[in-house]
Amino acid sequence: MKLLAHLFWAAVAAAAALCLGGIALYRGEHINSIWLVLAAACTYATGYRLYSKFLAARVLALDDRRATPGERLRDGHDFEPTNKWIVFGQHFAAIAGPGPLVGPVLAAQFGYLPGTLWIIIGATLGGAVQDFIVLAASIRRDGKSLGEIAREEIGKVAGFVSLVTVLLIMIIMLAVMALVVVNALRGSPWGTFTIAATMPIAILMGLYLRFWRPGKVLECSALGFLLVLAAIAGGQAVAKSAALAPVFTLSAMALAVAIIIYGFLASALPVWLLLAPRGYLSTFVKLGVIMMLAVGILFVRPGLQLPALTRFVDGTGPIFAGKIFPFCFITIACGAVSGFHALIASGTTPKLIAAESHARAVGYGSMALESFVALMAMIAACVLQPGVYFAVNSPAGVVGTTPAAAVATISSWGFPVSVADMTGLANDVGEQSLFYRTGGAPSLALGMAHIFARGGGGRAVIGFWYHFAIMFEALFILTIIDAGTRVGRFMLQDFLGHLTPKMGRAGGLPAVVATSAVIVTAWGYFLVQGVRDPLGGINSLWPLFGISNQLLAAIALSVCTTILVKTHGARYMWVTCAPLLWLILVTFTAAWQKIFSPVPAIGFLAQAAKLEAAAGGTLDASTRTLIFNARLDAAVCAVFMVLVAAVLVDSMRVWIGILRGVRPAALCESPFVVSRLRAEEL
């Protein structure tokens, strides 16, 4: 029986190698997406079965006899030992954000191959390892957060820097996510109406849940979902109405202002009224759409239209500038390695784990599934005709300000597309135009609509599916924006509360309004900067977000390495040091290039110098702002590098001290208590 199992897993590993080799080496005709699905599924299965088992048994020495914080600190609220698969679902729902959907769509400008390999290999050897080890570490430390673990295991500098980094990353993340929504809804009355309608729907749900049917969250969410579907249908009528369509046809700047106001209100209003009902609805829609997309891809098995590698591997890409190394690896963060996951793995999840061994499925397994979501986004982008993909995603500043100029530029790259193709597609999906819709969301929605419509209904329903996908993406992202603004406000209040209690959490309404305004202004500034950017904003902001997220992963992996060094000496350091070294190489190279590259499309300082030179001696207000913004982005990048370098130096000081034997290798774990949970409770 054991031999049979060995043979089975050897076959799965061989299939993984065959599929990966196949997609990496095969050139010529278009390949079917099922090869990517098989390569990913077999690699994740092999990684889970072999590598995560090794990590659980040897590296982390997980022990089910040891009571988890869920059992020891059980309070019926946060600490509660819960069924493994329920925790798995909850953790997956928490880590699955819009990042793994948008990043791969943008990285598809290099072709499907680089992004796909990074998603699969990065998650198996890096992202899933980080999530798993951070989760296990948090379980052994009463469910403490990454910042607290960093402070205890490395030192005060690491703990403080982790907190500051998280706040800065959140500001950049909120801005870039808001920009994705702005670009998806700009000039789209159908999409704008649908998303605007979700606000009163959420408020109605909040009142329903608070006063009419308290506690009936599933019932209320089902009702909300039906209303959202009605809003999508209503959006089509609005788009066709001569009176209403202009009201909901908004410019990018008007949408940016609307989202900034929304962020402020969501941060200041009671949670139950707007945030919570939207959050519940978004979670269910998110899980449902991801399942639909998986089923759709397996059912339709679409062929990939984009080539394995495009000419833009040389760094001249229209969506964002820069070569595969390092830019592919920072563009796809959440689908491969995401520092933000470390915050979730050291947040709610460890408090729900019933047995230490469950951390393997929850930590490693959830990340593998998240990576699969990223792969599906890559497939959805690559099923589009390359000419259409580039016409949708390229900014006017790169391809030309008229549709005729844009198609001429894109066709000259070897990706033929015509104005008639784009007009026909826009008519099919009920949009006025699909040119210059940067940010990834519209092309992802087109790819998803293409797959869903091929599953049944064809061109007659493609408009509905396109706007369903846009609604899903925007709802999802706005949930991140409203919750993120609120969390940022809390972090700022906690910090200011040390200086003056009036500005702390107990400071009342003036403190809430003031700190909400500060956070909204911070990310709103970057959002407006992105809207004004002649290169579309994504070219500047997405790499900044990718760098910051991966730098947070570097902090998390430094913490993990410190724990491994304290536990085993140098023996298993490679487990976290290998992905850490890769991330340091990638992020520091990317950050350095974003600051100092002499190519204006890449380097912020070169961009500022070019603008200055072009203006001659007479700088108008808008050019001055663009120059200031480019220098500000360079400064933000530099701050990230310095912060993470501080954590790395602090960590290495600890590692060297322990390995030389001049520093105690004491772990700050909670004491061993024998578990008393019965088998049925596990």
């Binding site: 019926g76 679902g89 006063f211 949670v271 139950w272 933000f340 915050l343 949930t479």
Partner: protein, 58 residues
């Protein structure tokens, strides 16, 4: 068939967990209280206050 039913039960349990309905039942059991609008609001305020004080993943 049994496996399918088990999977269905698990899916429903997951939905109830994501919807905080299970946590509410645990709260009622832990404190020996009965469901009421006031009780739900008390539970919900505490729960949501904690949920929305933590960063959401990108």
């Amino acid at each position: 068939m049994r496996a399918l039913r088990r999977a269905g039960r698990l899916a429903l349990a997951l939905l109830r967990e994501l919807a905080d309905e299970s946590a509410y039942q645990r709260h009622l059991a832990a404190h020996g209280r009965k469901h009421s609008g006031e009780e739900w609001r008390r539970f919900s305020d505490h729960r949501l206050g904690q949920t929305y004080a933590r960063p959401k993943c990108c």
